[in-house]
Amino acid sequence: MIGRKISVVGIGGAGARIVGQMPSDADDGPITFAVDTDTCSLVESSATERIQIGEVVTAGFGTGGDTQQGREAAEHDTAKILAMLENMELVVVVAGLGGGVGGGATPVVLGAAQEAGAATVCFVTLPFDFEGAQRKAAAAKDMEALREICDTVVVVRNNSLFESVDSRDIAGVFKEADSLLSSGVYSLYQMLALPGYLRLDLADLRRLSSDTKGECLFAAAGAEGEDRASKAVESLLTGSLMEQGKLAERARLLMLSIVGGPDLTLKEIGQIMDGISSTVRPQCRVVMGTSVDDGWIGRISLMAIVGEKRKVRPQVETEIPQQPVSEHPAEGPPLSPIAAQPSKKRKRRPRQERLKLEASGRGRFKDVEPTILDGEDMDVPTFIRRGMRIEK
């Protein structure tokens, strides 16, 4: 029985692997798709349906990390993608950012999903630190593109994902990390599609995305047997995906899905919610939902999507050029010979310096003592602190 038409699409190597891990064999599982240019990765994936894109562009190989190629490949096969997303209500896209297909094809697939009239949720992983600054920068750029087009982007940092894995050998580590992510995606599916008495639905998800400017973090945990509720909530809150609980403390919004078997009791739900509410700040909005899966007897899976407290725009400062260009614009050429050298080599186009943007957002109250209540600077506009989107 499927109440809502939901499909999970894994894009690129990582996406195809994660989707392949989903328990899609059950009758009531979601329809899973793996989309990639590389035939090898498609063959390995056990998704319900596998779709090769860009046969003409890459001839069945990978893209070699070229986002442009990934995009071209997807655009080439838009018809295939549209056909697979027909009649869907929700499309959950899973992809690893920083790669060619993951970064390039994902926006195209999301665009197609929107065209098909489906809501979109995107689970994306960000590359490891050791993968280099370039890949990180590519991922950040992909992120920008996704934020434009996707309703909700849920971010998983590979670094913290892998910290939460016990295995030592590389195959085991990846397998566990993939299964953690896929179980998270699966519980989102369970939440939305399976019967439950306290339901979360697409509207909650949409509200979450509009309140967080479409970017949230993800954490999942599960437990079995005796005391499963308290065990599960503890491992959720102290896990590395929650940054050992720090994330929960600064959360502004927390959406929690509890999936249990028919033996899930109200007391257990109470235990879980007590654990959550004793950790988060009182201002944090917590929405929860439970669903019951017949196959989950004796088990509890928790999945949290967390919207963070808005940070004071750290990226603004990095945009400011560090070199002291035009510090004394009226004094003619720079006096220091070291500073003058590059201008001889290459004619530098005169550039308009950007004034340092005020990072605090306090406006006219910047030079008076701030009014701090419960750790919040009341002088900063409420809509900024709450991360509300204001149409100009």
Binding site: G361, G363, R364, T371, P381, T382, F383, I384, E391, K392
Partner: protein, 400 residues
């Protein structure tokens, strides 16, 4: 003997107001002179630019002198600011003579004990307000004199603020030079002005939405049971709008006054308000529904903060007279409805009562504080004439 006129001065964040009041027959207060000057150098109810504020005060007082034909030498002054807080304290004394019952001496003693309160050394008491007496286990005694009992206690509410900041406000006036007869917390003045005797008895919350601060006072059983200041006011709403839509402060102010609403979701999503072009500004339009969302978020947060604080003190439950909203912020469209939504209590816009005279002074909610202070001045004058012992009960004494 003719009662001398009372001059009230409010150094507000948005304007300095001076009112001259005279007591007429039947204890009716008539405003005979007004002075008003847009305020410069006040942020969030506190003086930040001494010279500018002094000039504004002078202008306002001169205007008041001119219109009232009274030479002003002495004034009553209101204070506000986010540093003002309240706390309640209980003093207990043994009754001296069991046979004769509680005497006037016992009462004076317990007042002394209750007022001897430990507040941080950098703070001054603005008011001590007697709540009610307790004789042994019997609470809520109004007049204990003559009653029998072993112990007499008194609960007082102490309103206090940071000494240097209170003094800065006072000093701007003293430097003119001008004598300050008394300093009164602005919220108390507003409450005196806007509440009916019935509301004061059955309990009411007064919220004064000022330019830089929001003062709130809870009345119950004819006494102030809680008071406080939130250092957030109408200026914050304006600032929020200016930042949300990248417009100047004056344009934001105009948007707030002409098109603003405290309730979000009332406007059509596609409706826009246009800002006319000015010198150096090409003119543009702003989404009305987004404007309301920005205002709603701020005002709702301010109200929720007050609600949270009062709920934790437990003073809201016995309120029967509802909420009275006053101050310039009460002009904001739909704000009373938002207050009703947040507090779940009926809300009305309070205008100065029991006062007549120059039309503007008796009209708008922004004059509530100052006209309340005029009334306070006369009350104090009358209680002073009745005797110093009574003065201690009725007057909010300044602990300086």
């Amino acid at each position: 003997m003719a009662i001398p006129p009372v001059v009230a001065l409010e150094i507000g964040t948005s304007k300095v107001i001076a009112l001259v009041g005279e007591m007429r027959e039947d204890n009716y207060v008539m405003i005979t002179g007004t002075g008003e000057c847009p305020s410069k150098g006040v942020r969030k109810g506190e003086v930040v630019d001494f010279g500018n504020v002094s000039a504004c005060v002078k202008t306002a007082l001169e205007m008041a002198e001119e219109s009232s034909k009274v030479a002003i030498r002495q004034i009553y002054l209101t204070v506000s600011g986010g540093h003002i807080q309240c706390l309640s304290n209980r003093g207990t004394v043994p009754v001296l003579s069991q046979e004769e019952g509680i005497s006037q001496d016992d009462i004076e003693q317990v007042v002394q004990v209750a007022r001897a309160i430990n507040i941080p050394p950098d703070r001054d008491i603005v008011h001590t307000i007697s709540q009610h007496y307790c004789v042994d286990d019997q609470g809520h005694v109004l007049h204990p004199e003559g009653m029998e009992g072993a112990r007499l206690s008194l609960d007082v509410l102490v309103i206090h603020g940071v000494r240097t900041r209170l003094n800065n406000t006072i000093r701007t006036v003293q430097d003119i030079p001008m004598d300050v007869s008394d300093v009164v917390f602005g919220g108390v003045c507003s409450a005196i002005s806007v509440l009916s005797p019935e509301q004061r008895r059955s309990g009411a919350l007064v919220i004064d939405l000022g330019g830089g601060t929001t003062d709130f006072v809870v009345y119950n059983g004819n006494v102030v049971t809680s008071a406080g200041v939130l250092g957030v006011g109408g200026d914050h709403i304006t600032n929020d709008i200016a930042m949300a839509f990248n417009v100047s402060t004056s344009q934001a102010e105009r948007l707030k006054k002409n098109s603003g609403s405290a309730l979000a979701g009332k406007a059509n999503r596609s409706q826009r308000v246009s800002l006319p072009p000015e010198v150096g500004f090409p003119g543009r339009s702003v989404n009305l529904s987004a404007l309301h969302t920005v205002i709603n978020a701020r005002v709702e947060e301010m109200l929720a903060t007050i609600l949270h604080q009062l709920e934790s003190e437990g003073v809201l439950s016995p309120i029967g007279g509802g909420i009275v909203l006053t101050g310039g912020g009460a002009h904001l469209k739909d704000v009373a409805e938002l207050v009703e939504q947040v507090f779940g209590l009926p809300c009305e816009i309070g205008k100065p009562r029991g006062i007549t005279g120059v039309a503007t002074a008796t009209d708008g909610p922004e004059y509530a504080t100052c006209s309340g202070l005029v009334q306070y001045g006369f009350k104090e004058y009358q209680s002073n004439r009745r005797g110093p012992a009574l003065k201690q009960f009725f007057k909010g004494l300044l602990g300086r």
